[in-house]
């Protein structure tokens, strides 16, 4: 009972931080008192936060390292942008179209996650990581060579070269390495905010449920979990598919913020970037993921005054933080102060 209360408090704090950030930023955006750079970054930040939450579900809660998470983002980005373009006439309201695009993207990414999960989740540890990396690269290659057109006879798909045979008035949606162009920029900060809240709600509900406890039992000791009758593959798959769906929705949000999107945007480096957010924020710590994703997306922009040196500084900060957080002396110092705080929380 005690434990549930503690979780509940932390979950509430996470929601409070996200809502407070929105409540402060949204009026400022409406009033126009936010710099153009920050305003342009709000939606990508939301997308990265959702990505970090999604990956934290896989790495922190499920305990499997995924190095190909950008692949799901890619599937979501392409599915979402395609949906938004296809529904441009049918659905007039932009927010509704955004919601539909995000939902379609989540479904597609979940489907891909399921298909990839069948082979991937049979493996363990570093081998699982390398296979997710491989799938990420395969997805990138496929989207780089995919041609998808839409005319009044429906969708036309071809791989490698443009053999779609579109009618005159048809529209080429995905043009191989050129990606998708002329995307309606319907993504909004509010939409991103709602997506983050949804992701948080799903994760917290999952973690506090019977299924979530089974997933975490598998993470802590797979053999022990199996021996008490937990169907390991089923629960691993469940967490993986949910994570993929979130990544898909985040990808759709990301793509609908730009007028063009190409497959190479979602490469290995993007997967790594998201992983950095998750590890920085702390495994299994959702508030940490939210803050780390937002801070590390802004950091390179904030360092813009250092122009060429900014990525160098970013790298140094990354290394130093990892060294500092894993330093035994520092850990001991923090360990001395933290129990006091914990004691205070328990007595309150």
């Amino acid at each position: 009972m005690m434990n549930r209360n503690k979780n509940f408090g932390r979950n509430l704090l996470t929601f409070a931080v996200v809502i407070a950030a929105y409540a402060i930023l949204q009026p400022m955006v409406l009033a126009g008192s936010v710099s153009a750079t920050l305003k342009g970054m709000l939606v990508p930040i939301c997308a990265y936060v959702a990505m970090a939450l999604s990956l934290n579900l896989t790495v922190g809660v499920l305990g499997e390292l995924s190095l190909g998470h950008a692949g799901f983002m890619s599937v979501g980005a392409f599915a979402g942008a395609t949906t938004a373009i296809a529904l441009q006439q049918a659905v007039a309201s932009a927010p509704l179209r955004l919601a539909i695009a995000l939902a379609v993207a989540a479904v597609f990414a979940a489907l891909v996650g399921f298909l990839i999960g069948i082979p991937v989740l049979r493996l363990n540890g570093d081998y699982l990581a390398i296979v997710t990396l491989a799938f990420g690269e395969i997805i990138k290659s496929i989207f780089n060579n995919l041609y998808l057109g839409l005319d009044d006879r429906g969708f036309h798909v071809s791989l490698l070269e443009d053999r779609t045979g579109l009618a005159e008035e048809g529209r080429m949606i995905i043009a191989g390495p050129m990606g998708i162009g002329n995307i309606p920029k319907i993504a909004s900060f509010t939409g991103g905010f709602i997506l983050i809240l949804l992701c948080l709600a799903v994760i917290f509900n999952l973690v506090n449920s019977r299924q979530g406890r089974a997933v975490m039992a598998i993470r802590d000791n797979r053999i022990a979990a199996e021996s008490v009758g937990i169907p390991v593959t089923k629960y691993k798959m469940m967490a993986f598919v949910i994570s993929a769906a979130m990544a898909g929705a985040a990808g759709a949000l990301f793509s609908l913020n730009y007028s063009t999107v190409v497959a190479n945007k979602f490469d290995f480096n993007t997967s790594i970037l998201i992983l950095v957010f998750v590890v920085f924020g702390g495994l299994g710590n959702m508030l940490g993921s939210v803050i780390a994703a937002a801070a590390l997306t802004i950091l390179p922009e904030a360092l813009r005054s250092f122009s060429n040196y900014r990525m160098l500084i970013y790298a140094i900060v990354l290394i130093l933080v990892m060294l500092a957080t894993n330093n035994p002396t520092l850990k001991m110092l923090i360990g001395r102060t933290i129990p006091k705080r914990k004691g205070a929380a328990e007595s309150a």
Binding site: V59, L65, P119, R122, L123, N124, D126, Y127, A129, I130, V131, L133, A134, F135, E137, I138, S141, I142, N144, N145, L160, P177, I223, S227, F268, N269, I272, L275, V276, V279, F280, L283, N308, Y309, M311, L312, Y314, A315, I316, L318, I319, M322, L323, T325, N326, N327, P328
Partner: protein, 305 residues
């Protein structure tokens, strides 16, 4: 003849992957960490050799030696500064640090040497005088009445790879340090109790891996001559894949994995599709791992309950 030509260039590319994969596999075997900065050490090695040869007009062999010296030192420094403090940390923390080092090397290279591509001059050429008395450069030789062209780089790459492999097998099998390495990869704690200096052993492993990376960098840029700060990352990922393919931690596995990966990549480019060759490579990797989850030559570790 086409097939034979593709096979030879596949083996050549595979040899480069194998040399890089050795760095990954040795470090993984001993330190149990994925050293993602390894690909960028390759890039540094290639740049050092490029400047030694084109700017200071040193002979290519001296350039290669200089690159090896710098990369070896770099490997040791990286290990001491970034990885050694994390010996007790989780593997994920070490992974992120390695990524940080990789970013650092790439961006330092970007600042030092700019993003404009350097054209690496092929050191493996022979100069002769043709009938008209003009100097010409010959980059390779021909077999079967000119039906099969083999460049000197290809031959040198394959020979160098085989020599390195033989030397490493001898080194790990016969020398004291080699035995210490094998002992450390088996059980670090027990090795320490037997009087082996684990820290030195790990440093030596990094030094050897980085020195090999320098050679791989020079060979890679001799075969594919554009050099930019991100040159190392894709071959790094591929070589890492090769190491896993052959069974990570196993030196013959790195050779086998590297060669197969190179051949598959060139064959896929030749017969299936140029753009989709990477996808084919990774698909084969996935299929192999599904059948043999520890790689081709990897040891299957029994789970103890």
């Amino acid at each position: 003849m086409g097939f034979l030509g593709f096979l030879i260039s596949g083996i050549s590319l595979g040899s480069i992957y194998a040399i890089i994969a050795l760095g990954y596999t040795m470090v993984y075997g001993i330190a149990k960490m994925l050293n993602f900065a390894h690909g960028d050490v390759i890039m540094v090695g290639a740049y050092i050799c490029f400047f030694a040869v084109s700017k200071y007009h040193l002979p290519p062999l001296v350039g290669v030696l200089a690159a090896m010296a710098v990369c070896t030192a770099l490997g040791i420094v990286i290990e001491k500064l970034a990885y050694k403090p994390l010996r007790q940390a989780t593997s994920l923390a070490v992974l992120i640090t390695a990524i940080g080092v990789s970013y650092f090397l790439q961006n330092a290279a970007l600042l030092l040497w700019t993003s404009s591509p350097k054209v690496f001059s092929n050191p493996f050429i022979r100069q002769t005088v043709n009938e008209a008395g003009k100097k010409i450069k010959i980059t390779g030789f021909q077999l079967f009445d000119g039906q099969l062209r083999i460049s000197y780089v290809t031959v040198v790459t394959i020979v160098v790879c085989l020599v390195i492999m033989a030397a490493l097998v001898l080194f790990t099998g016969k020398t004291k340090m080699g035995k210490a390495m094998r002992a450390c990869s088996e059980d670090k704690g027990a090795a320490q109790l037997m009087g082996i200096n684990v820290d030195t052993t790990i440093s030596v492993t990094f030094a050897i891996g980085s020195g090999l990376a320098a050679i791989a960098g020079v060979l890679l840029c001799s075969a594919y001559p554009t050099l930019v700060p991100t040159t190392g990352s894709m071959p790094g990922i591929k070589a890492f894949t090769a190491a896993v393919f052959g069974g990570i931690g196993s030196i013959p596995g790195a050779l086998l994995g590297g060669l197969l990966l190179g051949i598959i990549e060139i064959m896929a480019k030749a017969y299936i599709s140029t753009q989709m060759s990477d996808a084919v490579v990774f698909l084969v990797l996935i299929l192999v791992l599904l059948v043999k989850p520890a790689g081709l030559l990897g040891k299957k570790v029994r789970e103890k309950v």
